[in-house]
Each structure stands twice: as structure tokens, then as C-alpha cells.
């Protein structure tokens, strides 16, 4: 009797399992380059959420070179007609992929979840191709931060700068006191990060848009640009000579240890301070890069979704899209990564002061028209143009080229890349 009952329940259970897997469960294969500690943990949360709904997650992590290898993998897989379910692609590159006709239309999920209401239009515009959602935003990073170690400033009797003139005075004192004023890593993307912070700070958001978003020759080769380039090169005097090739987190740790006074870096640097057990306000200070208060350079990570033939894979894909913008993931992921949620309606309790300030600034900058996409992080221009700007910036920074020559070269190099 008992045995029979057991067998029956088993049979029902098995049937149920078979039934449920065949109708709902699918697999998502996700190409990403979030392999480091905090990031990987955050991705694991998404994996867990999907698995709770019965879907499975096939991880396709490709680290290195800020996604350089991942992009190669993605292109070859697209060529093979075998793209993954989702891939970490952001900014204007989303449009390039959509133009190839490979991306899935996410409008049904978006409509059901009301993305248009939850997510600001600055963000949704990037995620849409010809009015249809083809990508899901994950988070918002602010780029133009300056991270300071106040104890170094105190020891050098210097003031934390808010203008570039103050910066130079402070940097001189810090250098004289035997510290490294600016912790810096000489990699093309880090150079570009500092460069764009200088441009938006010194020349303003409107100029930034003309020069580095619309790439107007008149703005690229202009007195403002030459001035910004000179300021950018001035910073080099206050970095140590071992900077080339240094990873950004190694530079951050110089600030943490008190070897260096400040670093210009996006808000992901916070994770390093947190991991080292440092408290904001006392152990370290985060303020906007000089003269850039009120402006907001943003970087939005996102996943593009490829068309799926299989019904169950589509279901899994839709579930993934829904979960990414779900409250749970948005909260946990962004707390881990140091960024802010891309949608509204997230409880603020678990975010720290820096993140809360970033949220307010995001809203304020959006209202004032000073919210600008980051060129250095692939939000402003196509990868080809971004690469061209990188080449000029890095050549200018690492050679004897004058600011005037660099400004002129921007125009020709960008024209050749278009």
C-alpha cells in the first residue's frame, strides 16, 4: 500500500518535473567579462534567480582587456551562426549589433514590466534600436570621481582640490612632502577616463557633447580642447614613473595605503576601499573630479539579447531580461559593484552615502542637461571612433606631441575612423 502510494507520488512528481521543464525551462548562455570577486558574485546572484525559476545558466566568462577577448568571441560566434543568449555589450555598439539583424525584440517583456516608466529615457534610448528594446541595462556608473586619502593631504598640508588650479598647488605640496600626488595606471582606457573628466570639468558639459559625443571638428580642434589637453598632460607630472601598464585597482591600493593622495576613477573604485575595510568620509573621500561638480559622466553596463529559435530558450531569455531589471537583482548587484540601480523604486536602505549621492546627482544632471555618456567607456561613440580618440589621447600623453598637434590630429584620425 505504502509502496504503491509512494510510487504514485513519485510518478506524479516525475511527470510534473518533465512537464515543467519541457514547457518553461530553458538555458541561457551568457557571455560576460565579470570575472573578478565582487562582479562574479553579483553575476552568480542572477544565475541563482534564474535557476530558481527552473532555467539553467551556461557561463561563458572571458576575461581580459576590458572585454577585448569577449568581443572577439562574440564576433566569431555570430559568424558561426551560434551566438550566445545574451552578451555584455554597451553603448552605441548595441546599435551596430542590432543593425546586423541578430538581436531579439524584448518589447513584450518591456511592456509587461513597464520599463519605459521605470527606467529614465536617457538609458532606454541606448537600449532601443528603431524604437524596440534589444538590450537590458544593468547599472549606472559615474565616471568623473576623484578618490582622495585625506591623511596624505593633512600630512602634506594641502587642501583637497575642487579646481585644476587648486589641484596643481595641492599636487606640488604633496610631491614636496614625498608622496605621489596622483595614483595612475598607464593603460589607454585609464588615460581616456582621466582625459574626459578633465574635458567635462574644464570646458563644460555642452562642449563635451560637441567634442566627444558628436565629434564636431570645430570643437575637437578648438582653444578649449587645447587647454583641456594641456591640463590633462599637466597631471602626468604628478604621477609616478612606474604608472605605465598598472591596473587601476593597483593604483587604488596606492591611495588606500597612503602612498598616493588621489585617483581619478569611476565609482567601482569604491569596492576596493570597502574590501580594504575603509570608511567613506574618514579614511577616504570621494568628490567630483575638479571643476566637474554638477556634471555626470555615465557608463551603463547592459546585455544585448540574441534571437533564439527555441521556444524554451526564448522563455529563459525573457526571464533573464525580467530578472535583470527586477528589484532583487538591481539592489544586490549594485551594492556589490559600487554602481547605482538603473531603475526607480529600489529601496535605498542598503546603499551607502556615495551611492545615494550618485543617485541624486544622476537625477539632477538629467534635469539640467549635464548628464553625458562616457566616451572612454564606450557610451558616447562607436567603437571605431572611440579607438581613434584613444590612439590620439595615448600618443599625446606618452610622447612629446604638443596639445595643438593633438587637437588637430583628433579631427583627422576620427574622420579616418568613420
Amino acid at each position: 500500500m505504502n509502496f504503491k502510494l509512494l510510487a504514485k507520488t513519485m510518478a506524479v512528481l516525475i511527470l510534473f518535473c518533465v512537464f515543467s521543464t519541457s514547457t518553461f525551462a530553458g538555458q541561457v548562455e551568457v557571455l560576460h567579462w565579470w570575472t573578478s570577486g565582487g562582479e562574479a558574485k553579483s553575476v552568480a546572484i542572477l544565475k541563482g534567480l534564474l535557476e530558481k525559476e527552473g532555467h539553467s545558466w551556461k557561463d561563458m566568462a572571458v576575461a581580459g582587456g576590458a572585454g577585448e577577448n569577449a568581443m572577439t568571441v562574440l564576433k566569431t560566434r555570430a559568424m558561426a551562426g551560434n551566438p550566445p543568449t545574451a552578451a555584455q555589450v554597451k553603448g552605441p555598439a548595441i546599435q551596430e549589433w542590432a543593425r546586423e539583424g541578430l538581436l531579439a525584440n524584448l518589447d513584450p517583456v518591456a511592456k509587461k514590466e513597464n520599463w519605459d516608466k521605470l527606467v529614465p529615457s536617457v538609458v532606454t534610448d541606448i537600449m532601443k534600436y528603431q524604437g524596440h528594446y534589444v538590450a537590458v541595462p544593468v547599472n549606472v556608473h559615474k565616471i568623473n570621481w576623484m578618490w582622495c586619502n585625506p591623511s596624505v593631504f593633512i600630512k602634506a598640508k594641502a587642501k583637497i582640490p575642487t579646481t585644476w588650479a587648486e589641484f596643481e598647488t595641492a599636487a606640488k605640496k604633496i610631491k614636496a612632502a614625498g608622496f605621489i600626488p596622483v595614483a595612475f595606471g598607464g593603460q589607454a582606457w585609464q588615460e581616456a577616463t582621466v582625459f574626459e573628466s578633465v574635458v567635462i570639468g574644464q570646458a563644460g558639459a555642452a562642449f563635451y557633447k560637441k567634442a566627444l559625443v558628436d565629434t564636431e571638428p570645430g570643437a575637437l580642434n578648438s582653444p578649449q580642447m587645447i587647454k583641456a589637453l594641456k591640463t590633462f598632460k599637466m597631471i602626468k607630472k604628478y604621477t609616478d614613473k612606474n604608472a605605465p601598464g598598472r591596473d587601476w585597482n593597483m593604483a587604488t591600493s596606492m591611495v588606500i595605503k597612503g602612498e598616493a593622495a588621489m585617483q581619478f576613477m569611476g565609482d567601482w573604485a569604491k569596492g576596493e576601499f570597502t574590501a580594504a575595510g575603509k570608511n567613506p568620509g574618514t579614511d577616504y573621500v570621494a568628490i567630483p573630479a575638479p571643476e566637474s561638480a554638477g556634471t555626470y559622466l555615465f557608463n551603463i553596463d547592459s546585455f544585448i539579447m540574441f534571437k533564439q529559435k527555441d521556444k524554451s530558450a526564448q522563455q529563459a531569455q525573457n526571464a533573464m531580461a525580467r530578472l535583470i531589471l527586477g528589484k532583487k537583482f538591481q539592489e544586490v548587484f549594485n551594492v556589490n559593484k559600487g554602481s547605482i540601480p538603473v531603475r526607480s523604486g529600489i529601496a535605498k536602505a542598503s546603499f551607502d552615502d556615495i551611492a545615494l549621492r550618485s543617485m541624486d546627482e544622476f537625477a539632477a544632471a538629467a534635469a539640467n542637461g549635464t548628464l553625458m555618456p562616457s566616451m572612454a567607456h564606450g557610451m558616447a561613440v562607436y567603437p571605431a571612433v572611440q579607438g581613434a580618440i584613444y590612439d590620439v589621447v595615448t600618443e599625446f600623453y606618452n610622447s612629446d606631441m604638443t596639445a595643438k598637434e593633438a587637437a588637430a590630429k583628433f579631427v583627422t584620425t576620427i574622420a579616418a575612423a568613420k
Binding site: 570577486g37 544565475k47 551556461k58 576575461a63 566569431t76 559568424m79 558561426a80 574590501a275
Partner: protein, 296 residues
């Protein structure tokens, strides 16, 4: 050639004594230069993180610890899974073994033809084969991907094995051809007069003397394929990725504290099979080269 053939007069002069001391000195200095990186790797892999932070690069470990090795093999996180590099290690074995054996066998047969059964155009074809391997591999990624996609082999283990075989053939063929050239043509002629055919000569005359060149070919191919990153990252996916890809993911973390000891332990584990091949087969390797390289 060994200098024992030089007469004793040479050995006894003061010049010769000085010469021998100098030779040993140069060789030992060179050996130190070659060993330093390995020593640094091994030292670092058995240090604790605290030791690494406070000591310098070449200092002897103050605390001997195998934690980093265990972690690298078993628990280090790569992407969202934290099972170390052991799974990827076996993937690499599954890729390397078939790719090396097949490309070596085909190379042996090709080399046999190009040296002993030349036909009209065979020399030209051989040159074409050699030149082809100078195309930068990066550029063939896209057409290769398309081809694999059409064959239904995209992102599969057999697909990756096929890629390795195809691009290894030029070298294996070159090795075997150069080796077989040194075997007198008369031997083949005599065998043919005795009625031996193409395959019989290959199996009975050529193969038995080919062990040294097999070793060369296997060592070369194993090194190339085991250490390959580009094809591995592009033509595999998730759970079929080879160890170099996992190592790259492990080493290239961009946040958190960099665990140099785990990185180094993982790097050594990744290099162990090829190093073992070199050490075990090193002697045959030289013998194979001796036999094969004399005539080019």
C-alpha cells in the same frame, strides 16, 4: 660532434683550462638566467599572501604553504563557478591528445610522400603548405568560425580539435619530411624491387626508425596546442574551455586583492604537462632533432 675528438694537446694547455672554466661559467650564468622566472613562480606559489606583501620578489618563503595550490586546483573562482582549474585541465587533455596524435600521424604520412614518393608538383605543394603557416592566425578566426558553423561544429570539442589539426599539419609535415629525406632512397628502391608497396615500406622501413622524429613532432604539437589561447577562447564555450582560457580568467581579475600565489600556482599547474613532456622526452627530442635537422 663532441670535442673528445680534439687531441690531448689541446686539453692540457693553460688556454684550454681557462677555456673550460669560462665555458662552465657562461653555462651556469645562462642557467641562472633561465631559471630565475621559474624560481620566482615556485617561491611565490608557496608563500602566504602576507609573505608576498611584505617580502620581495625573490626572497625565500618564510612560511611554506600549499594553500594556494589547493585553491588553484579546487576552489578558485573562474566566472560564476568556484571549482578551480581542474575541470579545464581535463578539457585541455581532451583537446590536446587527439589533436596531437592525429596531426602527427598525418604529418608522418605526408612527410613520407614528400620525401620518398615525390610526384609532379609535390615540391610546389610542399612550399605552399609551408608558406600558409605565416598567415596571422587572428584573421582566419572569422571565416573559420563560419566554416565550423556550417559544419555544425561551432563551439564543440571536435571543432576545436579540427582547427588545431589543420593548422598544425604544416609543421608536422615539415618535421617528418626533413627526417625522411635522410633515409637513403636506395632502401626504398630495394624494397620496391622486392615487391613491397607504398604502405608496406612505410610501416616496415620508415616507421620503425621514426621514434625520434615522432618525439619531436609530439613535443612541438603538444606545446603549441596545450598553450594555445586564441583558438581556445574563440572556438570553445563555457564548459569546454581549455586551461589557458581559465588561467587568463583567473589572472585577469580586475577587482579585489590580487592573489599572486594562487595565480602562480595555477600558472605552474597549467605548465606542468608540457614541462613534464620536455623533461621526460628531452633526450629523444635532441636525438630526433639530430636525425632530422642535419639535412635541413
Amino acid at each position: 660532434m663532441n670535442s673528445e675528438y680534439f687531441s690531448n694537446d689541446y686539453q692540457k694547455t693553460p688556454f684550454m683550462l681557462f677555456f673550460r672554466v669560462a665555458v662552465y661559467a657562461v653555462l651556469i650564468i645562462a642557467a641562472i638566467y633561465f631559471l630565475i622566472p621559474l624560481v620566482i613562480m615556485i617561491f611565490t606559489s608557496v608563500k602566504t599572501m602576507n609573505d608576498i606583501r611584505t617580502g620581495n620578489l625573490i626572497s625565500f618563503p618564510r612560511q611554506f604553504s600549499l594553500e594556494a595550490w589547493k585553491s588553484a586546483w579546487d576552489t578558485a573562482c573562474i566566472g560564476v563557478t568556484c571549482n578551480g582549474i581542474k575541470g579545464y585541465f581535463w578539457n585541455s587533455v581532451k583537446i590536446t591528445v587527439p589533436a596531437v596524435s592525429i596531426s602527427t600521424i598525418i604529418g608522418a604520412a605526408n612527410g613520407y610522400v614528400f620525401s620518398k614518393w615525390k610526384f609532379y608538383g609535390s615540391e610546389v605543394f610542399f612550399s605552399i603548405l609551408l608558406l600558409g603557416c605565416f598567415i596571422p592566425f587572428q584573421i582566419i578566426l572569422l571565416p573559420m568560425a563560419k566554416m565550423l558553423g556550417m559544419a555544425g561544429l561551432a563551439q564543440t570539442l571536435p571543432g576545436l580539435v579540427l582547427v588545431h589539426i589543420v593548422y598544425g599539419l604544416a609543421f608536422t609535415t615539415l618535421f617528418f619530411r626533413n627526417f625522411y629525406v635522410t633515409i637513403p632512397q636506395e632502401l626504398v628502391k630495394a624494397a620496391r624491387i622486392d615487391g613491397a608497396g607504398f604502405f608496406r615500406i612505410f610501416f616496415k622501413i620508415m616507421l620503425p626508425v621514426s621514434i625520434p622524429i615522432f618525439v619531436v613532432s609530439i613535443i612541438w604539437q603538444t606545446t603549441q596546442i596545450w598553450n594555445d589561447f586564441l583558438f581556445g577562447v574563440v572556438f570553445s564555450s563555457g564548459d569546454t574551455q581549455p586551461i589557458t582560457v581559465a588561467l587568463n580568467n583567473l589572472v585577469n581579475t580586475s577587482t579585489g586583492v590580487k592573489k599572486y600565489n594562487v595565480d602562480m600556482a595555477a600558472a605552474i599547474i597549467a605548465a606542468l604537462p608540457t614541462m613534464a613532456v620536455y623533461i621526460v622526452a628531452g633526450k629523444y627530442f635532441l636525438r630526433g632533432l639530430t636525425a632530422g635537422s642535419v639535412k635541413g
